[in-house]
């Protein structure tokens, strides 16, 4: 579905991604793990068109998209849930959701968008209860759900999730992950960045390990979890624990 080859991307004059290749198949959940500054968010932002690709190819549904503008990429069926939620806190929850369908909005689409809104509210009942409230009044977990819901409003085929658990209490993180599970049941394709590598590897089908802008490992999550290097670097196991 998504196929990236030799992607190079820069922030300012610093080369962040140094030739990254990866792919995501339909109905797959793929996770990227790696330390801070490895280039994970840059990768998602480059796919979404927010950062221009300096070199390389991004193909989505067999179509080259690396030169398209962000709104056109959204119309192709890719939605980004950005790091730190980035909701419009002074607008109501319902308006935030409607904005999610902005790029596809037209008068004739209205019934369909209302149906989408309905299905999103079904997925997140809490948002229905709070739909008239200001988004800024929501708790952190609710804001994250709103951010995911807003992305779903563009009816994406692929959803890019950037650190959905950031700054949330463990119990809320559980909830967010259950939501991602639910996306899987709805046959959604997900590319997920997550600091909580253990949960991400438990949830996803496949994973890539990113270090300093390069991919150093790829594999089924089951295999990655068994890799000692990953255990040590990302799953927080010390040598002793591995020995025991």
């Amino acid at each position: 579905m998504l196929r990236i080859a030799n992607l190079v991307s820069c922030i300012g004059r610093v080369e962040i991604l140094k030739g990254v290749s990866l792919h995501v198949q339909e109905k797959e959940i793929v996770t990227l793990i790696g330390g801070n500054g490895a280039g994970k968010s840059t990768l998602l932002n480059t796919i979404a068109g927010l950062i221009p690709a300096r070199a390389g190819r991004i193909e989505f549904m067999d179509r080259e998209i690396s030169r398209l503008s962000p709104p056109r990429i959204v119309r192709q069926g890719i939605a980004l849930v950005p790091e730190g939620r980035q909701i419009f806190s002074s607008m109501s929850v319902a308006d935030n959701l409607l904005l999610g369908s902005y790029s596809t909005y037209s008068r004739s689409m209205k019934p369909e968008i209302e149906a989408r809104l309905e299905s999103v509210m079904e997925l997140f009942p809490i948002l229905r209860r709070r739909s008239k409230q200001l988004a800024g009044a929501l708790s952190g977990g609710e804001q994250q759900m709103l951010a995911i819901a807003r992305a779903l409003m563009s009816d994406p085929k692929l959803i890019l999730l950037d650190e959905p658990s950031m700054g949330l209490a463990p119990r809320i993180v559980e909830e967010i992950f259950q939501t991602i599970e639910e996306l899987r049941r709805r046959s959604m394709t997900v590319l997920l960045i997550e600091q909580n590598a253990r949960m991400a590897l438990d949830l996803a089908d496949r994973g890539y390990v990113v270090e300093t802008g390069q991919i150093v490992m790829e594999g089924d999550c089951e295999d990655l979890k068994r890799n000692r290097e990953i255990e040590r670097a990302y799953l927080g196991k010390a040598y002793q624990e591995i020995w025991e």
């Binding site: 080859a5 030799n6 792919h23 198949q25 890539y208 270090e211 390069q214 991919i215 295999d223 290097e229």
Partner: protein, 431 residues
């Protein structure tokens, strides 16, 4: 018959290429950080992992061979610390300075899965009684073949040290349906049964899986015709995994390369130039997923050709021809791999002989016979038989210690081997 790992075995060609590129780039990024040899060799070739932007670019990377591995024994080619290694195998058991191959937990699991994949192409299922006639001590692939068959739910009987009559007896009594063995052993069984006039219809065999050695098509036909079975070939390399690299499906149309774990190239052994599909040359393998002992562009020494045409079985992996001969000097006699120079070393350590020697290998029935001609120096060339006989026995013992094959030693007059070839392999016409 169903494809067990259809998620990988029937990917489209473009999906396979994407996966190979990703895995190649990842392993290059990894080894440049962890393996000093690659760090240096890439540096002297003035190449960075980021220069590899397509599978075609792999040709820019330097080739390695068994010599490279020997220069780095025991652990210098390992890409992980030893504490992460769970199994060590010498690449050629019994020989001096064997290369040590390490496997992490994941490596072993992948290898076992590859084996299971290969066996399921031979339609081994839980309904099968599998007899493994491989040397569990000397042949690293035996254990993996064993667990690979078990993973498919088959009932596995490990029976190495049993002599042939008992093997056949057990085949009959246990109702063995699949025999896993080297081609040489399969021929031994065929010959034994033919000599003793044992009716193959008494057996319940339906398939024989060849592992561990190359074989001639004639051997395959002989076993098929006599035992009324399907023969499935499996291919591997002892420095990577043997078997486990390629496997034959029911179409009997060559061996499918597990391209999700390996990249295969065919080169001209003399120039190193990469040859197009269909051309015969030396097989070069790159491991894509090995954690402990990754090899980049490893010259296997095996001569084969790769074919791109689709296979009727539905698998999309490319197919290689069964290996019929080797591009380097490596000899395989009775399943034992060795270099002629290793015998030369034994002879060089002797007194009263020159450094000239000649190996003559021929097939006697189904067995290989190794004859070693050694040139003696004039100082022992006397009429006494005693010292000559003692010398002959010493050479024979030392070679037996090295190879575990009993050679026939012939002492010849001084200078009679001057300028002659070191190896005369009379078996080649068989292939």
């Amino acid at each position: 018959m169903p494809i067990i790992d259809s998620k990988h075995e029937s990917l489209s060609r473009s999906e396979i290429r994407q996966m190979q590129l990703e895995r190649l780039q990842a392993i290059l990024n990894r080894i440049v950080r962890n393996v000093a040899h690659y760090q240096q060799s890439f540096k002297s070739a003035e190449i960075l992992p980021t220069d590899i932007r397509s599978l075609f670019d792999i040709q820019k990377l330097p080739l390695i061979d068994r010599r490279t591995l020997l220069d780095n024994i025991p652990y210098d080619m390992f890409a992980v610390p030893l504490r992460e290694v769970v199994r060590l195998h010498p690449s050629r058991a019994g020989l001096r300075d064997p290369v040590v191959i390490g496997h992490t937990k994941n490596d072993i699991l992948v290898w076992t899965q590859l084996k299971a994949r290969g066996f399921s192409a031979a339609n081994i299922t839980q309904n099968d009684m599998v007899q493994v006639y491989l040397d569990y001590a000397l042949f690293p692939g035996a254990v993996v073949a064993h667990y690979g068959a078990e993973q498919l739910g088959a009932c596995v009987t490990p029976l190495y040290s049993m002599p042939i009559p008992q093997q056949i007896e057990i085949m009959r009594n246990y109702r063995t349906t699949v025999l896993i063995c080297t081609p040489t052993r399969a021929l031994h069984i065929v010959r034994y049964m033919r000599e003793r006039e044992i009716d193959p219809k008494q057996l319940f065999l339906r398939a024989v899986v060849f592992v561990g050695e190359s074989w001639a098509l004639r051997t395959q036909r002989q076993v098929e015709d006599f035992l009324f079975v399907d023969v499935f070939g499996n291919y591997g390399v002892s420095e990577i995994c043997i078997p486990g690299v390629a496997y034959e499906c029911e179409a009997h149309n060559g061996l499918h390369l597990s391209e999700d774990h390996f990249i295969a190239e065919i080169i001209n052994p003399d120039t190193g130039e990469v040859l197009p599909p269909g051309r015969r040359g030396e097989l070069v393998l790159t491991t894509l997923t090995r954690e402990a002992f990754p090899l980049i562009r490893f010259r296997t020494g095996d001569v084969t050709a790769i074919h791109e045409e689709e296979c009727s079985c539905g698998r999309t992996f490319l197919r290689m021809e069964p290996v019929a001969r080797r591009a380097d000097d490596m000899l395989v006699v009775e399943g034992v791999e060795f270099l002629p120079s290793e015998i030369g070393m034994v002879i060089a350590n002797m007194e009263h002989v020159t450094s000239n020697y000649r190996l003559i290998i021929q097939r006697e029935g189904t067995r290989d016979r190794l004859e070693v001609e050694v040139e003696i120096t004039p100082d022992i060339f006397i009429d006494q038989l005693g010292p000559l006989e003692a010398l002959r026995e010493r050479i024979e013992e030392d070679i037996f210690d090295l190879l575990r094959i009993k050679p026939i030693i012939k002492l010849v007059e001084p200078q009679s081997l001057e300028g002659k070839e070191h190896v005369v392999d009379l078996r080649e016409n068989d292939h």
